[in-house]
């Protein structure tokens, strides 16, 4: 059940709404301030113009003195302007104001005051402009701010209405945005929901936009790929472990039961030896499985050192040479001098020895271990003259814990190639199979710079 108050849904709507209201409010406020400033400036201009106008009229006119002009203007019908002329002794000479209002300096500055004109019933707001004239008298001219106030009020009302009208729109917009996000996430949600052990093929459909949701889908898909892979491997591993360990352990049990039934000490000794061999086999399988697991997990890279591959090839040929000779086969090594990579020498030796052992056990004819320098990588090829792994079985043979039936039937753990492959991945390299008409080669390919790795680097 959705917890509304804590859900992204409500919070998202609130957030978008709040944001929209704030923006609308800010715009309205700014518009109002702007209008206010503009009106105030225009009022000041009007007052000043009025002032200058009166002085000009009085100056130009031969018949009228300033006193006359003031008296005439202030008594003109319907005038909502303010006029006052006082002499140097503060006596009122003319005007529609009973006395000089407080707070108005005669310094040619614009101030807003509240005053009551003689003909008016109540006080009003005026923008006034006053100055001291040459003869010491002072003239005050005021312009009613009524009209400005009115237009400001109507502007404010209009803006308020606009904001109020925007509110439901904002709600709708917020809802829509949240809904859109929700529906995009719903796809991911559904796919992840359906992805389980019974359905590992479920993936999220991508629209190719590379936006956040697409990327989320892509990452989730990659994660599901990896999980599916791991689950599949786990199945194979479990099956293999069960199979590979049960066989020798069952044989072991049978032998021991056999021994229990016998009183002959010679039988006991013989069975003891067989049982020991059987256990060695089990232990070696377990060790190899652990090594594969560790290599696959990328453990051990921190202990990499410089390894001379030519020395390694030479040593392996020397170690296995006599074994090959005993089997009437030849084992030769050749290749590049000074081939140094960074790696784990014992694991690399193990990987190479596994390939040589495979060639000895399952291959035919002469075995050649060749080291090549391909420019950006070193390749160690173990070749023999046998038919090799049939093409249709290659994928199976290279898979972790994948093995072929002949290997299973024989004495080997059947993990040799899988371990070599895991060791290659650990070193950022690959294990390749190659065949020509009469030769089969398994190749260990090690990049010279470990950066060229096709192994997914562990993310911190």
């Amino acid at each position: 059940m959705l917890n509304w108050t804590r859900s992204f849904f409500l919070r998202g709507v609130w957030l978008v709404l709040l944001f929209e209201i704030l923006v609308a409010g800010a715009v309205a406020l700014a518009a109002l301030q702007l209008a206010k400033a503009e009106l105030s400036r225009s009022d000041a201009e009007t007052a000043e113009t009025l002032f200058e106008d009166m002085l000009a009229v009085a100056n130009v006119s031969k018949a009228l003195t300033l006193e006359d002009v003031v008296a005439r203007r202030s008594s003109s019908l319907g005038s909502d302007d303010l006029f006052l002329l006082i002499d140097a002794n503060d006596r009122v000479i003319a005007g529609n104001l009973a006395r000089w209002p407080t707070g108005v300096p005669a310094s040619r500055t614009f101030v807003e005051i509240e005053a009551t004109a003689t003909a008016m019933p109540d006080s009003r707001k005026y923008g006034v402009f006053a100055a001291t004239l040459d003869n010491g008298s002072q003239l005050l001219v005021g312009h009613s701010l009524e009209r400005s106030e009115r237009s400001l009020t109507s502007l404010r009302d209009a803006l308020l209405k606009a904001v109020l009208l925007a509110f439901p729109l904002a709600v709708a917009a917020a809802w829509l945005v949240v809904k859109l996000v929700d529906s995009r996430l719903r796809d991911v949600e559904d796919a992840l929901e359906k992805f389980n052990s019974d359905n590992l093929s479920q993936r999220i459909e991508l629209n190719g936009s590379q936006d956040t949701f697409d990327r989320l889908g892509e990452i989730s898909n990659r994660m599901m790929d990896r999980i599916a892979e791991l689950v599949e491997e786990l199945r194979i591993v479990t099956d293999s472990v069960a199979h590979d360990l049960r066989m020798p352990l069952t044989r072991l049990k049978n032998r021991l039961t056999e021994a229990q039934a016998s009183d002959d000490i010679a039988v006991h000794v013989e069975i003891n030896e067989l049982a020991t061999n059987e256990l060695d086999h089990v232990l070696s399988i377990l060790t190899q499985m652990l090594q594969i697991g560790r290599a696959e997990a990328g453990i051990g890279r921190e202990a990499f050192v410089a390894v001379d591959l030519s020395g390694l090839v030479h040593d392996m040929a020397e170690i296995f040479g006599p074994v090959a000779e005993d089997a009437d086969r030849s084992l030769t090594s050749s290749g590049a001098k000074a081939a140094s990579v960074t790696g784990q020498p014992d694991l690399l030796a193990r990987a190479l020895s596994n390939l040589v052992e495979n060639a000895l056990s399952y291959g035919r004819g002469a075995i050649a271990v060749k080291l090549h320098d391909t420019g950006d990588a070193f390749e160690i090829a173990v070749e023999d003259e046998g038919p090799g792994i049939p093409p249709e079985h290659e994928a199976k043979a290279l898979r972790r814990f994948g093995r072929l039936d002949p290997a299973r039937a024989g004495g080997g753990s059947g993990l040799g190639l899988a371990l070599a492959s895991a060791v290659m991945r650990l070193h950022g390299g690959t294990l390749l199979l190659a065949r020509s008409k009469d030769r089969f080669a398994v190749i260990l390919r090690l990049p010279k710079s470990p950066g060229n790795s096709d192994y997914p680097a562990e993310r911190a």
């Binding site: 202990a303 170690i319 006599p322 074994v323 005993d326 056990s361």
Partner: protein, 227 residues
């Protein structure tokens, strides 16, 4: 003057019993302690020929014990037992001053062989030998000359090193992994009978036509050089 007194520092009772029983049967006197602090205390006594030290211990970790011992100038050879079996753990153990490193679970014969080897080394000290002898077999280390009686034996370089290794460890059991380590300097478990093939070739050259075979196979363990 290698002491046959061994200090065993191991907290797991069943492993300890197994080692105690085996070592006692082989004529060693074993002192057993169960934690690192006691181990360090006993080790400073310096009366031991060798110390078998578990890596994971309560109280004081095996590696810490080893470091403290070496810091206190105790040079008794130490064999580390560890469940941490990877190559890098092994390298870390060896660089920290241990003389050998054995991964649990191990076969007792392997432990015994390695202990004896350590005791041998500890007793020998550093001496520059110019030749090795056993019965009528001799190696001239300077001229790389091998003779059995009055017969000169021609050996491949690796066969020569194998023989040299075996002769330097006369009378004690060397396991196949010890040979791979000692002669080829690789540490992995050779799956097939690789080592056996090398030894049997050497044996052919050394022992064929002689009444006294010098390379003995020890069932379930490895080889022993000597009469």
């Amino acid at each position: 003057m290698a002491s046959n007194k061994i200090l065993l520092v191991e907290d797991d009772q069943s492993t300890a019993d197994f080692i105690l029983k085996g070592l006692n049967e082989n004529g060693f006197v074993v002192d057993h302690v169960v934690d690192g602090r006691d181990g360090l205390f006993h080790a400073t006594d310096e009366s031991y020929g060798a110390i078998v030290l578990d890596r994971l211990l309560p109280g004081m970790d095996g590696m810490a014990v080893l470091a403290a011992m070496r810091a206190a100038q105790v040079e008794t050879p130490v064999l580390i037992l560890s469940a941490l079996g990877t190559a890098e753990d092994r390298v870390a153990g060896l660089t920290a001053g241990s003389d050998d490193y054995l991964v649990k679970p191990f076969v007792f014969a392997e432990l015994l062989a390695r202990l004896k080897l350590m005791l041998r080394k500890g007793g020998q000290g550093v001496s520059e030998e110019t030749s090795l002898h056993c019965e009528d077999l001799s190696i001239d280390l300077l001229r790389r000359d091998v003779r059995r009686g009055d017969r000169a034996i021609d050996l491949q370089p690796r066969e020569y090193r194998l023989l040299e290794y075996l002769m330097r460890h006369q009378g004690i059991v060397v396991t196949r992994t010890m040979l791979l380590e000692g002669v080829w300097e690789y540490h992995f478990d050779p799956g097939t009978n690789v080592i056996d093939v090398h030894v049997s070739r050497l044996r052919k050259k050394i022992d064929e036509g002689n009444d006294v075979p010098l390379i003995q196979t020890v069932r379930g363990a490895g080889y022993r050089f000597g009469k």
